[in-house]
Symmetry: C2
């Protein structure tokens, strides 16, 4: 498999964590978003949205959108389960994931922050404050929801789908200067994940295209 | 089951369509977002994010986030399948759903348009132009992806999960004045769904709280 990925893209990072938990190997193909490589014709034929990540299976089949890729990996690969088996537990795992994937991340995506600057005329500080605002709002709810359990990870004793979303969102939160003092439970989960070498290897700054 | 819903909320509309396809009956409990009912303590105990939809099962269990609710309904209820059975087809259905759920809808959500106006100081027209911009960008990719097949619906001969996302997004697009002349395939799917009375009954303007 090949993963078209950008080192600092949160959604690429999610899929790298999912692959790490599954113990699956993948060839990383960097797509430089800052150079506009995602708008090249060669990439657009793989993904008409021009977004990373895109997973290319060995037979050339292309999968896009991190929530879809993560569920696919869980349905088809051996290894630890990303989602629990019980339907109510699965719904809770998807609830927490979607809270990040739909209500936080999209608002602090590179293309959105760029649009705030041009054409809307805001400066970088205002764009970062926007990102920090929506991250803080989502994290407040997430901290409440995750504090109901006292497990090392969000849904138990091992990392799973929620960590695929949470770790990249915490990484991004720091870039935007979000105050994380109000989310000790989120930070404790992040700390627990730091003991898992494969997950650590999925970190943006461990990527071949990091700079 | 009770569905905490707001008539014009796109994510509530998604779940109403999913329930309609499944043939499941549900009591609709309107939550008036304009009056701030979603920020009342009684609702926040049900959903700390203060967002609709929230599904309350007969035993009082609460499920939030439309992607999680829709997958739960598909995993537990009888009736037509919302997602295909084949893993690659499931990934494609989730890809198309997430394109709307993560890359379009969150950017034209009420709370986001409100923030553009206050504190960012944009007027209503500018906020609507923002919404229309991100809807058009997502729809362009969606039109390309959905045009690969010539089926009445996105994934075959019957509506499923993709229609749960698509119909509300088309409804919202019109509110924001998006030009839909470039998306004939999306409009053809919407037209096919109009022949399904249960889906038509899920429309915002058919809700008891519509005004």
């Amino acid at each position: 498999m090949k993963l078209y990925s950008y080192w600092r893209s949160g959604t690429s990072y999610r899929v790298r964590i999912a692959l790490a938990i599954k113990g699956a190997s993948v060839e990383i193909v960097p797509v430089n978003l800052l150079d506009g490589a995602h708008k090249d014709e060669s990439f657009l034929t793989r993904n008409p949205q021009g977004l990373v990540p895109t997973l290319e299976l060995d037979d050339g089949t292309l999968l896009s959108q991190s929530p879809a890729i993560i569920e696919y990996l869980d349905e088809t690969l051996p290894g630890p389960e990303l989602l629990p088996e019980d339907p109510l537990q699965r719904a809770e795992a998807r609830h927490l994931s979607a809270l990040i994937g739909c209500d936080i991340h999209p608002l602090q995506n590179l293309r959105v922050l760029k649009y705030l600057q041009d054409p809307l005329g805001h400066n970088r500080d205002e764009a970062f404050a926007w990102a920090a605002h929506f991250i803080a709002a989502g994290f407040e709810a997430l901290e409440t929801l995750l504090s109901k359990a006292d497990t090392p990870f969000a849904m138990g004793d091992a990392p799973g789908v929620v960590e695929c979303y949470l770790l990249p969102q915490l990484y991004a939160a720091r870039r935007f200067g979000t105050d994380l003092s109000a989310v000790p439970r989120l930070l404790a989960i992040e700390k627990a994940a730091a003991d898992w070498p494969d997950i650590t290897a999925a970190h943006p700054e461990q990527q071949i295209d990091a700079h």
